[in-house]
């Protein structure tokens, strides 16, 4: 561990022991329970429960909608609030531990008895969290969508500190880090490949998603294994009050989601359990099938689909079980009868999560999770006597247990542990040529990944709050494995490791720290720091990741990536919290960063890690954010000024170069305007400094053909990227029966309104030859998407 990391660790431990020395002696009782949406029984994540008139005495619901608030004996006006919902208040006489499960409604007509009080809307200022953004799916749906496909990842790209990987791409770079440094979780399962069709669409079907949280700063200690960010996506649980159906038909895909309670509940009560099924499939190329049928290319197709399922069952007020799963595939099929060629390439993720919540008492909440996930890419092709197969992927079995311990209003503890068994499959190829078989002998890799964590949140007083966290991670590459090293001059040496035998072990102490100091009416300053380790990596030669890119684990050659991030922020709300503003600055040190060597060429049956080179990096920047939360006109403006550079002994002659994730300026504006109850319009505008590329600059000849030389790494900027999208949504309200359950809405989205031809890539066109005296080379700028209108019909029942 680096010396500054040790100093940092020491400071954290010192302040931690200080925090425990403070405690209170008054008699206290606990108010606890669940907060839910009155409409469908979905739990509300991150909702607030607090004492009216004293915002400091409050709690926030966890991922499962549970809250716990310990207060001195007395009578309180307790407020339950959640953004977009009406706040409910209730008088509570707290002379014993009380459980209150509450439902909040977003419809004033249904809950006339509720007294509307001032919301606790200043979470932005009052929490210690920095670099955290929550996006509800409803909010994401108001953003203009590319080809009508509502995309969670593309919505996240509009936040400051988050950059899009490229034109139309759902890959993201967070605070100068690579795309593999983002931990993307769907109901606690890691999603290794987040994009369909080279990342033009993300794998998350918005209809099945309830809530998305992005952590880009000092991530809480319960998350780890990645350096840059966590994107925590929670699926909907399923309506447990009534059957619900929603869906949509768009230009490239259709969607259908069904939700229902297991058994219809009596009157307004909720059922014991409910389920959700959601599916999406593209059909752009299916439409062409009848036309292809009589051609040489019959059967050639491309499509992708996603299936989300979830079920939950409440055994008692203290025990609840959730089972959820995701299955998605991209499938490309090419047939040519004339050439007697057929190629099939399917790839995608499958995840399954089982979670069991148990409430030991009013203060101790436990969640146990079992996760299976699998990402697989495969390729099979044949022509006449020759056939070829290849596949690669990742498969994990993961289990974890998390505890939330609500000590009192000043102290909250989270602790737990996790274990993952990884199996990484490098590209394994086999071929058959006539009667000879070939088999690649690159081994699968197996490993254990373990982590223990504890996080302590300490409210010193109304002004000062600390979050201390510590995570200890351990990674071990284990057998079976046989390693071949050497060449034909020095000879080859093979080492064989038996199943389960440790080969290489890494241990990572990961301290985390965050604090907030509130002052004035609506101001606070915050600071955070975190040290993170990352044990599995995805190195890509292109700007974004491709389905063929292979995840690799740390080994004797590949050391874990490490990042130490410091961040500071000033937060201020205006106009009764209608406007939220913040300025955050961050600085990141990065170690053991991985790139391909400059002469890397992908070869069958050669360990990919032998093509890597290692170096260090820095990333720093300032993020400015202005958000209007409420009103007919709402939205945000985010601007980031940043730099991300790398230094590798074996790249760019050892000189510092800007990372391909570097964007000097990045501006995103997202605005939504509700004209009336039926019509709303939305617009987004993005501007970003162009990607940095390594330009070709010299020409030499070998065998009278060109050999191209290159300028310094990433030394050329392509023109700046900017684009505006607009959308208009019409949701008619039937005049005769305005409360009719069947609801339709029509959305027209226009991508790239002013038809900006942004650079997708630049290449050098070489024509002719020096030998014939007509050699000509021309740099060509290729842009991909012109203005694209799309229309989607959505329905709900």
């Amino acid at each position: 561990m680096k010396p500054n990391a040790l100093i940092f660790l020491f400071c954290i431990l010192f302040s931690y022991s200080f925090s425990f020395s403070q405690d209170e002696k008054t008699e206290k009782f606990t108010l606890s329970g669940y907060l839910k949406d009155a409409k469908n029984g979905e739990v509300l994540i991150g909702a607030n429960v607090y004492v009216q008139g004293n915002n400091a005495l409050g709690a926030t619901t966890n991922l499962y909608g549970f809250y716990s608030l310990s207060l001195p004996k007395g009578t309180y006006q307790i407020a339950f609030s959640y953004l977009g919902f009406n706040t409910k208040t209730q008088e509570i006489i707290l002379d014993k531990d009380i459980r209150i499960n509450t439902e909040l409604s977003d419809d004033t007509k249904l809950l006339e008895e509720v007294v509307i009080v001032e919301e606790r809307k200043d979470e932005n200022v009052k929490s210690t969290t920095m670099g955290k953004e929550e996006l509800s799916t409803d909010r994401i749906k108001s953003i203009p969508a590319f080809m009508g496909e509502v995309d969670i990842i593309k919505a996240i790209q509009l936040l400051p500190g988050v950059q899009a990987a490229g034109e139309g791409n759902s890959g993201i770079y967070v605070r100068g880090g690579g795309p593999d440094q983002n931990l993307v979780l769907l109901d606690d399962a890691i999603v290794y490949n987040t994009g369909h069709l080279f990342g033009f669409f993300s794998v998350f079907n918005a209809d099945a998603v309830k809530n998305t949280t992005l952590y880009k700063g000092a991530m809480p200690a319960n998350f780890g294994g990645r350096l840059s960010s966590v994107i925590d996506i929670q699926m909907k649980e399923g309506n447990n009050k009534r059957f619900e159906m929603e869906g949509g038909i768009g230009i490239i895909s259709s969607r259908l989601t069904l939700q229902a309670p297991f058994k219809k509940p009596k009157s307004k009560k909720e059922a014991k359990g409910s389920f959700l099924f959601s599916g999406r499939r593209t059909y752009l190329f299916d439409i062409a099938q009848p036309f292809l049928k009589r051609t040489d290319f019959a059967g050639t197709n491309y499509f992708f689909y996603d299936i989300n399922i979830k079920a939950n069952y409440k055994f008692s007020d203290k025990d609840r079980l959730y089972i959820s799963g995701y299955f998605g595939r991209d499938v490309f099929v090419y047939n040519s009868t004339k050439n007697q060629t057929n190629v099939k390439i399917p790839w995608g993720n499958a995840t399954a999560t089982v979670r069991y919540n148990h409430l030991f008492n009013d203060k101790l909440f436990m969640n146990t999770t079992f996760v299976f996930n699998d990402y697989n890419f495969s390729f099979s092709g044949a022509q006449l006597e020759f056939s070829f197969k290849a596949n690669s992927g990742v498969r994990d079995f993961n289990t974890k247990v998390d505890f939330d311990y609500y000590l009192n209003t000043k102290h909250n503890l989270k602790f737990g542990m996790m274990y993952t068994h990884h199996r990484m499959t490098p590209t394994q190829a086999s071929a058959r040529s006539a009667d000879t078989d070939f088999e690649s002998n690159i081994n699968k890799r197996y490993s254990h990944e373990l982590a223990w964590y504890v996080a302590h949140s300490y409210d010193v007083n109304e002004k000062l709050k600390f979050d201390f966290g510590f995570r200890l991670s351990l990674f071990q590459h284990i057998g079976p494995y046989s390693q071949i090293r050497g060449d034909n001059i020095i000879g080859y040496d093979t080492t064989v490791y038996k199943r389960g035998k440790p080969i290489k072990t890494f241990v990572g102490p990961e301290p985390r720290f965050a604090m907030r100091y509130a002052f004035g009416k609506n101001n606070s300053i915050k600071a955070g720091a975190a040290l993170n380790y990352q044990y599995i990596h995805l190195v890509s030669a292109s700007n974004s990741t491709l389905p063929t890119d292979v995840w690799v684990q740390s080994s004797g050659i590949v050391k874990p990536q490490m990042a130490l991030q410091y961040s500071f922020g000033y937060f201020r709300n205006f106009k009764d919290n209608m406007f939220e503003t913040s300025i955050e600055v961050y600085f990141k040190h990065l170690w053991n960063q991985i790139e391909y060597s400059e002469s890397y060429v992908n070869e069958l049956n050669v360990d990919q890690e032998l093509g890597y080179v290692f170096g260090k990096g820095k990333a720093y920047g300032a993020e400015f954010f202005l958000k209007k939360r409420t009103g007919k006109l709402n939205g945000w403006i985010g601007y980031t000024l940043s730099r991300s550079d790398r230094k590798f002994a074996e790249l760019n002659q050892g000189k510092v170069f800007v990372a391909k994730y570097d964007r000097t300026h990045d501006l995103s504006i997202n605005i939504n305007y509700d004209i009336n109850k039926e019509w709303s319009v939305g617009a987004t505008f993005v501007y970003a400094t162009g990607n940095s590329i390594t330009p070709a600059n010299t020409l030499s000849i070998i065998e009278f053909n060109p050999m191209i030389g290159y300028a310094d790494r990433n030394s050329y900027r392509v023109p700046a990227y900017h684009r505006m999208d607009m959308a208009i949504t019409y949701t008619p309200i039937p005049k005769r029966r305005p409360d009719r359950r069947w609801k339709s809405s029509y959305n027209l989205s226009i991508y790239n309104v002013y038809n900006r031809r942004n650079t997708y890539f630049i290449y050098n066109k070489i024509e002719g030859s020096t030998l014939t005296g007509d050699l000509k080379q021309t740099p060509i700028n290729v842009s991909l998407f012109p203005v694209i209108p799309s229309f989607t019909w959505n329905f709900k029942f």
Binding site: K338, I345, A429, N488, S700, I708, R757
Partner: protein, 327 residues
Amino acid sequence: MQSKLKKYTSFFFFCILSCLFILPACEKEIDLNIKSNPNEIIVEGHIENDIPPYVILTKSISLYDNININNLENFFIHDARIVVSTDTDSVELVEYNSVILQSLPDSVAIAIAAQFGIQISSADDFPEVSIYTVPITNIDFVGQIGKKYDLRIEVNNQVLTSSTTIPVPVFFDSLWILPHPNPSFADSFFQVYGRLQDPQSLGNYYRYFTKVDNDPFLISNSSVFDDNFFNGKKFQIFIPKGKPIGTNSNDFNFNTDGYWSIDDSICTIKLSQIDKPHYDFWRTLEANRSSQGNPFGSFVIVKSNIIGGKGIWGGYGSITGSYVRVP
């Protein structure tokens, strides 16, 4: 086989992109203002069993410098002192410029040009090139299998050195032909196959050349392969026909590239064993050429075994054989 795999993978990306984005991608010529580093010394030198060593010495030019590009003479470096040596013997190469080459008898000039893949009909057509090879007095200095050859170049106050080996060659047990897999092309094209027994030890690197009748030896876009995937095996391999010099490596026709024409009667294959640094040079150079214009690919810097410069000093251990088609 390797070339077929490459065909498939590039085809995969091409198909998905072009099929799905029926919306036309827009291409536009642009001006790039990029500093370049011209005048690097580029070595292209070879030694093969039974053939004298030769070196072509050129310099790099700025990529967008169209002033000099079409005058081949601007590439060549003259007046270098080049010595090729073994443990026991050495030879200083002499420069043959185009004036000398054009004064050679037609048959000699045509044969020398063919060695470099250039097809000419008379000595006058010899392009503006400059070649360093053994002096007439030392014509017996030819490559020998199993030997190591050192290279030393002194030019413009710079010294460049390198070293290579001539590995033991292997050749196909048999060569045969098959019709084009697509019946609609079978009247015009056919395929050549060979059966190869790879030696038992890992670390064999191959480069192959093809030749039709009396034409020069040519290479295809993917001219090298190693035995990582089929070490020690006996297998059959598709042998694509080489492409004429100056053919853009990105002009790719799935139906015709690599197939032999029905007019080709003697199909000659030269299979050379090369050492690892030599293999790495061609492997990275071929990737360097094919990465031009591939949005998913990354740039590749060509690996060189020349100390003090760029390019290649490579030994070939070659065996040549032909399939003669009976009309």
